[in-house]
């Protein structure tokens, strides 16, 4: 046998599986803030375009010290929590009905499709007439905004429950209620929780929009006032608070997912 070339087979697998890198997210935040602070301090970014992050932070501290933060934040959180929880509970109930009953499906599913794409903020004037200028109209805006995505998430979740599990339940003589409670609802839970994630963001967006149209207190009102006085540092402080609310809501839903879906 003549001597042959030996060559290692080159590795060409791997990749396509992003891993979690600790603190990378925080580092990106920090780098942006530092660059921004340096840019504004050096005069490269004029204060008119963007205030210094330190000024925005100062505005936030001022807001806390004046006691107004509690007022704004509590007004917003009450609306947010009331509107979102009413919206998702009604939405889950309707979604279950549409998922389980032929009449509800044929009667309501087209209505849901027709009402879902309407921007609920456009209906705010109507809600003001129906539910009053105070909390009612704002809560209603959030309620209707979160209702429809929840309905759709719930019934599509029910549609996707493994039919063979339902058949198994029937074959062991489980009652209808048991099949719904122990097989269909847990099976639809991942989709319902994914719906919660989306509806929580929608709720925050609608909260601010509703508060900008007419509210004395609330993060949206605070941002609007800051904007009309060109107090951009206060405006950014308000936006940071909203971002914080969003992060906390996402974290809370993440915890709920970890608890309800621990079997995955």
């Amino acid at each position: 046998m003549p001597p042959t070339d030996k060559k290692q087979v080159p590795f060409r697998g791997g990749g396509f599986a992003p891993k979690k890198v600790r603190f990378a997210g925080l580092a990106v935040f920090a780098v942006i803030l530092i660059l921004w602070e340096l840019g504004t301090r050096s005069g490269f970014i004029t204060p008119l375009v963007l205030p210094k992050p330190s000024e925005a932070f100062g505005a936030l501290v001022e807001l806390v010290r004046s006691g107004l933060l509690v007022k704004h934040l509590s007004a917003s959180l009450v609306r947010l929590i009331a509107g979102w929880s009413l919206g998702v509970s009604l939405g889950v109930a309707l979604g279950i009905a549409i998922g389980l009953f032929s009449l509800a499906r044929s009667g309501l599913a087209p209505l849901v499709s027709a009402l879902f794409p309407i921007p609920k903020i456009a209906l705010l004037p109507l809600f003001v007439i129906w539910f009053g200028i105070d909390e009612g109209s704002k809560i209603a805006t959030i309620l209707f905004g979160t209702l429809f995505p929840t309905v759709i998430a719930t019934y599509s979740g029910i549609d996707n429950v493994d039919r063979s599990l339902i058949r198994m339940g029937q074959s062991f003589g489980l009652s209808w209620a048991s099949i719904v409670r122990k097989i269909i609802l847990p099976g639809a839970m991942p989709a319902i929780l994914a719906g919660f994630r989306i509806s929580a963001s929608i709720a925050i967006i609608l909260l601010v929009a509703a508060e900008m149209i007419g509210a004395e207190y609330g993060i949206g009102a605070y941002i609007l006032m800051a904007g009309s006085l060109m107090q951009t540092d206060q405006l950014l402080a308000g936006v940071a608070i909203l971002s914080g609310i969003g992060l906390i809501a996402a974290w809370g839903i993440g915890r709920a997912e970890a608890w309800f879906l621990k079997w995955r």
């Binding site: 063979s164 599990l165 058949r167 198994m168 339940g169 029937q170 074959s171 062991f172 003589g173 489980l174 009652s175 048991s178 122990k182 097989i183 847990p186 099976g187 839970m189 879906l261 079997w263 995955r264």
Partner: protein
């Protein structure tokens, strides 16, 4: 209790899947049903347990099931059908929860079936943590917990690899030797049929008709050691099935399968 199928026929839309099928499962007997894929054998099993209504014919229970039987006709599914959000214990508890049982009674049943299927160590595991073979053992434990009169087994080994299949087959043989359960056992695997069936019903391709019913007179527990005699039966069955299988293989798959 005996299960009697009388002149069953069934169709999906325009497609005739079963035609004039009559057979019975006697007490303590395993009846295997084999046939090419798409011959309607899984449909027949769904009809037998009342999960689907037959287009024609009658399905009868003759005689009362044992007094302590909670679910006389109990399935074992090919895909196991375990709830992924319940542990092994929870999956067994599921089928007992709708029956009026004292909680210590329920606990005792669960302990009993777990130990009979050697699953005690896995009681708190979730299905995703189990291999296919273990999942099917859980499904068997679940079926035993309701003390069935007749088990309806829908290709219970088809989703498993060859080694696991052999192990579970030994489990089935052991289980039958101890408990003499009755079963309707649907499979497309000849070996499974001859290893477990007292009688083997050969179905033709669609529409499924009974082509032949074969009795195997070797006791189930002796079959592993009498492979030569068994081989004669397998060969005969293969002769019967071969042409059907070939013809079925060349058909267009335009109908609901099963």
């Amino acid at each position: 209790m005996r299960l009697v199928l009388e002149n069953i026929s069934h169709r999906y839309g325009n497609v005739e899947v079963l035609e004039g099928i009559s057979l019975e499962v006697k007490e303590g007997e395993i009846v295997a049903i084999i046939g090419p894929s798409g011959c309607g054998k899984s449909t027949l099993l769904r009809l037998a347990g009342g999960l689907e209504k037959p287009g024609g014919g009658r399905i009868l229970q003759e005689g009362a099931p044992p007094a302590n039987s909670l679910n006389p006709l109990t399935y074992i599914f090919q895909d196991f059908a375990l709830l992924p959000w319940r542990t092994v214990r929870g999956n067994i508890a599921l089928v007992l929860e709708d029956h009026k049982l004292a909680s210590d009674q329920r606990k005792a049943i669960i302990e009993d079936v777990l130990s009979r299927t050697s699953l005690l160590d896995f009681a708190h595991a979730y299905p995703r943590q189990l291999s296919g073979g273990m999942k099917q053992r859980v499904a068997i434990a679940r079926a035993l917990s309701v003390r069935p009169a007749i088990m309806l087994m829908d290709e219970p080994l088809s989703a498993l690899d060859a080694q696991t299949r052999a192990l579970l087959m030994e489990d089935f043989v052991g289980l039958w030797r101890r408990e003499q359960f009755s079963a309707l056992y649907v499979t497309h695997n000849l070996q499974e049929a001859v290893q477990l069936g007292h009688r083997i019903v050969v179905l033709s391709r669609r529409p499924g008709r009974v082509r032949e019913i074969i009795e195997i007179d070797i006791p189930v527990e002796e079959r592993a050691s009498r492979a030569v005699e068994l081989e004669r039966h397998s060969r005969h069955l293969w002769q019967l099935m071969r042409d059907e299988a070939r013809a079925a293989d060349r058909e267009l798959l335009d109908a609901a399968n099963g």
